[in-house]
Amino acid sequence: MNENPSTPKRNRQGMDYGETEEVQETHAAIQREKREPRAGLEPLSLWLIALYGLAVFFGGAYLGRYSGDFSGDGLDPLGGAQPMKKNAAGGSGATQTAELTPAERGKKIFSANCATCHQMTGLGVAGQYPPLAGSEIVNGGPRRPAMIVLKGLTGPVTVKGQQFGSAVMQPWDKTLNDQKIADVLTFIRQEWGNTGGPVSPEGVAALRKELAGRAESWTEPDIKAVPEGADLPGGAPTDQTKPPAGASPAPKA
């Protein structure tokens, strides 16, 4: 080994070893050190390669066995056993909806979402919620009511000569899909002695697309700006060319 580092020659203070004057007096630990590590170049052993192969095989097999088809619905592992439709949330079960007419479906939607304010009687609440029964907006062209349902309505509004203004209607475009909006519109336009025609989901979809950029609710002038009898964009004609509404895959709400 090297000389004793604690010779009196050392010009050190405290723990400071590295700062000596003489090159020879660098810290003993460094002088006795082995050289810096480097890498040898031994080849891979065959056994190791065989182990790699095994690991890849088992890893791959495991992945194949429990991959759940790499779908986002295959809950871990393969929990959603029965094949689920991709759009479980929006795609209403075709078997159930086919049994009901649009107006019947609309009635359920109405009672769930609209009746709190507009009442099952369609008469609304005086001064707060306008009636739907006999309303000129509902009985006119489908465009106006569809606009209101999609984007909501705020501010005062006059229906059947009465002023309503203390409540707002929320937009439903995030909550209800086209099929449901069409159904509920069909329902309110034919119930309570109303005389409006049916509304197609395709028309609602087209209107939804047209209004996609709009964030805020309508006010009465917005609605009055639309001609009373205005129809939905491309509503009626496409209705006949497309398959029946109940079977069509409705887009996600």
Partner: protein
């Protein structure tokens, strides 16, 4: 290895690969879910929690409840979660879309809480309200609190103590209680049941349990959360939300004092009461029809 660039690219590439595979693609698949609604637009599930319950979630996280309690029910082939009636179906991503932070947990030193707030409205008049458990096991008349006709559910008095609650999976069973509900003391109260087995996790139960876990389950290893409760002198009348204790209980405050939950405790309990995954989801099979609950004590494969 020579050259920094291949090294750097490799380091970046492996990281990006991992991020893409484990975060980005799953996020495309399950990161943008909407609440589920019935075909007629009714029955939206799940829905956001109230402000108090959200505050309770922060308290739940801050006190590390998630280190001992999970909030996820596994499927029937993995573990005994369904047999233990911690839920009627496995959990799905959609159950958690409003949860932030999401507190799934990874350890069960306490039971799963995914459905601890599960409640269904009273349909069966014979099913006694959970408040009925009060007097039978203890025999001690409940002093002070119950006369107050407070609408708050917390008016429902003490829970049955340890003897009836040796097991946590079959909590203090009000079903054994022959006494009908004594009075409509808590009109908001609803009977809780999963598959017909009542689970009387009322607010009063939670408060009592948080304050003194071992007064309800003897073997519980849950720490008591007494710092969430305030001990104060009774001013005039006993507060409506004061905790009730048996007179023999060592937890009971000296006479003239009462123990009331702080706002934080109320938030925490509101959060616990809001934990409920009993709503069916289309992407998940519900384990058993409500009519035929699985046989108790079923062995796991």
């Amino acid at each position: 290895m020579k050259g920094l660039l291949p090294l750097f690219l490799g380091i970046f590439g492996t990281f990006a690969f991992s991020w893409t595979g484990l975060i980005f693609i799953p996020n495309l698949q399950i990161g943008h879910l909407d609440p589920q609604t019935e075909e007629d637009g009714t029955d939206a599930y799940p829905s956001p929690r109230s402000g108090m319950a959200e505050r309770g979630r922060q308290i739940y996280a801050a006190n590390g409840c998630n280190y001992c309690h999970t909030q996820q029910v596994r499927a029937d082939y993995a573990g005994s979660d369904l047999d233990r009636k911690w839920g009627i179906r496995r959990s799905a991503p959609r159950d958690y879309i409003f949860d932030r932070p999401v507190l799934l947990g990874k350890m069960r030193m306490g039971p799963d809480l995914a459905n601890v707030g599960h409640r269904v409205p009273v349909t069966d008049q014979n099913a006694p309200a959970p408040s009925a458990t009060t007097s039978t096991t203890t025999g001690a008349p409940v002093a002070g609190a119950s006369p107050a006709p407070a609408p708050a559910a917390s008016a429902s008095p003490t829970v049955s103590p340890a003897p009836a609650a040796q097991t946590a999976s079959a909590p203090p069973a009000s079903a054994q209680n022959p006494t009908p509900s004594p009075s409509p003391s808590a009109p908001n109260e609803v009977v809780t049941a999963i598959n017909g087995v009542p689970i009387p996790y009322t607010e009063a139960w939670h408060h009592r349990h948080l304050y003194s876990p071992r007064s309800i389950t003897e073997d519980s290893d849950m720490p008591a959360f007494r710092f969430l409760y305030e001990k104060r002198q009774i001013a005039g009348q006993v507060a409506a939300d004061a905790l009730n204790f048996d007179e023999s209980s060592t937890d009971a405050p000296p006479s003239g004092w009462e123990i009331v939950p702080t706002y934080e405790a109320k938030c925490l309990v509101a959060y616990l009461m809001s934990l409920d995954q009993s709503h069916s989801l289309k992407e998940v099979k519900t384990a058993a029809a409500p009519a035929s609950p699985p046989a108790p004590g079923k062995q796991v494969k």
